[in-house]
């Protein structure tokens, strides 16, 4: 597919804020929009709010607002979400970020933009094109891709491409309460909201926490600030920064640095580039 690019190369900056104060603070900055979690239905976001609160914050901004509904949805969730989706359809939001295909099916009767984000499954341009043909308006690609993959996917699809360029990397999501279970087995109680798994092999700590009766594990921060220029030159439509697990002051500085980077000023170096330059393997031996 030969996709036509706009003459002016640009990437928009979307931010997942930490909380309402952070939202208000960042709203004053030169960013293009926010991703907000829907309370009880979002994962890997920290500012999750209900429909009434969404109505209120929309009044506070003229930036793009995406609502992330990206948890796996059980039958009961679908039933509860239907009236919420109807309410969302009446609001001035830019779109809904979905993971569960059931959500796609119930949203299609409303005039709402849908952004495909099946977490680790957005890995090639043909699948992007498949969702494009279904009327989807964008794709948040997997964080396990290389920089060249992002560029190649963008070149071969009409679907607007969102790249998660800064934030803790989601590695694991289980419907089990693994911390609660462990403490119970040890005749103890879970006291903290967040714990760390220590891996001896690489001498690394991984954040593990429970939310909504599920368990999540995060890898280190990915920070692709030095890749902003090349992503922008290759017309990646949106860059996403996630404030999950951050202190507000530090995150605001990060956001400012990305605003600068989009203006051509790289003012700091990054430590972890995730898979941007690292290829994964899946066949250990060739027969």
């Amino acid at each position: 597919m030969d996709c036509q690019y706009p003459l002016e190369k640009m990437s928009k900056l979307l931010v997942i804020p930490i909380n309402k104060d952070n939202f208000i603070n960042l709203n004053k900055r030169n960013i293009d929009g926010f991703i907000i979690g829907l309370k009880g239905y979002s994962v890997f976001t920290s500012y999750d709010i209900n429909i009434d609160e969404i109505k209120e914050i929309i009044k506070l901004t003229d930036k793009e607002i995406y609502i992330s509904i990206n948890k796996p949805l059980f039958v009961e969730d679908i039933d509860k979400l239907k009236p919420i989706i109807e309410n969302l359809s009446k609001l001035n939001i830019k779109g809904i970020i979905y993971d569960d295909i059931g959500l796609l099916n119930i949203v299609k009767e409303y005039n709402i933009n849908l952004i495909w984000n099946q977490l680790h499954l957005g890995t090639n341009y043909e699948t992007c094109n498949y969702w494009y043909k279904k009327g989807v308006k964008g794709s948040i690609l997997s964080t396990e891709l290389m920089l060249d993959d992002y560029i190649n996917i963008k070149r071969n699809t009409f679907l607007p491409i969102f790249v998660y360029i800064y934030g803790y990397l989601p590695m694991f999501e289980s419907s089990r309460e693994l911390l609660t279970n462990y403490f119970k087995y040890m005749n103890s109680n879970k006291k903290d909201d967040v714990y760390y798994l220590y891996e001896k092999e690489r001498d690394k700590y991984y954040t593990i926490y429970e939310n909504n009766d599920n368990t999540y594990i995060l890898e280190d921060l990915i920070d692709g600030i030095e890749e902003v220029k090349v992503l922008k030159e290759n017309n990646i439509d949106y860059l996403i920064l996630n404030g999950l697990n951050h202190l507000e002051d530090k995150f605001n500085i990060v956001v400012d640095s990305y605003i600068e980077a989009l203006n051509g000023n790289i003012i700091r170096k990054s430590n972890n580039k995730g898979f941007l330059y690292k290829e994964t393997i899946y066949k250990v031996k060739n027969e």
Partner: protein
């Protein structure tokens, strides 16, 4: 009984296991090719072997499904169309997919092949079923987390076929939503490289990074799935296909698991009550050497669903021999594990109801010996009861 008999679907890691699965009562087998399968490091089958398996399976009026269920990266797309054409030419009945691009390719090429959606797509609700049905998917493998209640609702609201796992290992994470393997070992879990990090132990630290001093390290490992006591409920719900996990498992495992579930399904449709269900449950436990529970079927598993203590998954040497022949007086056997004169063993097979037998003597080349202690050793033992080729002899327990 008006209910439709469900399909019993067995894993087959190679051609030999295809044959054992069919022999032991599978209605269909699923297997992976050398490309695009989520068990990238299993032996898997070449396209020629898939053709041979297809012919074999169809000669018994059974079905064959091939997993093409990786999540594709750009570079994996190159030969995908050609591969699907080859599978179509091999007359496989269905492909099991995760990535919907295959739907478009099969439609574009007008291939005569059904499309089953893998559990890797994590399908948990009726609305998702409706979407995939409209896309031409004929069957969906339910997410592992689906409850009985949700299965009933999905079945009520969708006419698409439901497939569910009934036995075998579980992912602790939602399928497709774990990339621990990618980050910790650089092996892509969604392209078949999963290095099973969930079975590692980890030290756990609190929010101040102080180590928690418990007697066992933190583990995510979960027990296996066993639906042996809930098969009738699954039939009543209208689940179309009962899937056994384990493409990398042994012939003994496949034969044992199939033999038990085949009997339970058939007995139900013949109106027989199953009085030996506890024995069967124990037999299933022994052949995998892992504890198993019904997982999410009745309620979400809690601490009882986890493994914390060190487990012994070494072979327990229960599998003693395969029957090669029977002459009305003696069984000719091929040895798999040690046994000796005086042992009491159990024999079972597709046409042989499980029975116990005392080893009165062992003969090798017409010479009486005390024990069978060489793998693949061909020996004879005394038996008055009729047995058949490919019956299995195991330890009595």
């Amino acid at each position: 009984m008006n209910k439709k008999k469900p399909e019993l679907l067995a894993p087959a890691g190679d051609l030999e296991k295809v044959k054992w699965a069919i022999l032991y009562g599978a209605d269909a087998v699923y297997l992976g090719g050398r490309e695009y399968s989520l068990r990238a490091n299993a032996k898997n089958l070449s396209i020629e072997e898939i053709k041979e398996a297809s012919e074999y399976v169809h000669s018994y009026n059974k079905k064959i499904y091939v997993t093409v269920n990786i999540i594709f990266h750009n570079e994996d797309l190159i030969n995908l169309k050609e591969y699907l054409i080859e599978l179509n030419n091999a007359k496989v009945d269905a492909v099991i997919i995760s990535d919907p691009i295959i739907i478009d390719i099969i439609k574009e090429l007008k291939l005569d092949i059904e499309i089953h959606l893998s559990t890797q797509q994590n399908t948990l609700n009726h609305e998702a079923f409706k979407f995939w049905e409209s896309e031409g998917i004929s069957r969906i493998v339910l997410a592992r987390e689906t409850s009985k209640e949700d299965m009933i609702r999905i079945k009520k609201e969708s006419s698409i076929e439901l497939e569910t796992f009934i036995h075998g290992a579980m992912c602790v994470a939602y399928s497709g939503r774990c990339v621990l393997s990618n980050y910790l070992t650089n092996r892509d879990s969604n392209r078949g490289g999963c290095s099973q990090i969930c079975r590692w132990n980890f030290e756990l630290f609190d929010k101040f990074k102080n180590k928690l001093e418990f007697k066992e390290e933190f583990s995510m490992a979960v027990k296996d799935l066993s639906m042996v006591k809930h098969i009738k409920e699954l039939i009543d719900i209208g689940v179309s296909s009962f899937k056994i996990e384990g493409r990398m498992r042994s012939v003994y495992y496949i034969a044992t698991v199939l033999n038990i579930y085949r009997k339970i399904i058939d007995d139900y449709f013949e109106g027989k009550s199953d009085e030996n269900i506890d024995e069967e449950e124990y037999e299933l436990y022994r052949c995998a050497n892992r504890e198993a529970i019904p997982q999410y079927f009745k309620s979400k598993p809690g601490v009882e669903g986890q493994y914390y203590l060190g487990r012994n998954e070494q072979s327990n040497k229960d599998f003693l021999a395969i029957v090669l022949d029977y002459d009305g007086n003696e069984i000719k056997l091929e040895q798999r594990n040690y046994f000796k004169v005086g042992d009491i063993v159990t024999i079972f097979g597709p046409k042989t109801k499980r029975f116990d037998l005392k080893i009165e003597y062992i003969k090798e080349d017409e010479t009486f010996i005390d024990m069978a202690n060489h793998p693949l050793q061909v020996i004879k033992i005394k038996c008055d009861k009729k047995v058949y080729k490919n019956d299995i002899m195991r330890v009595k327990f």
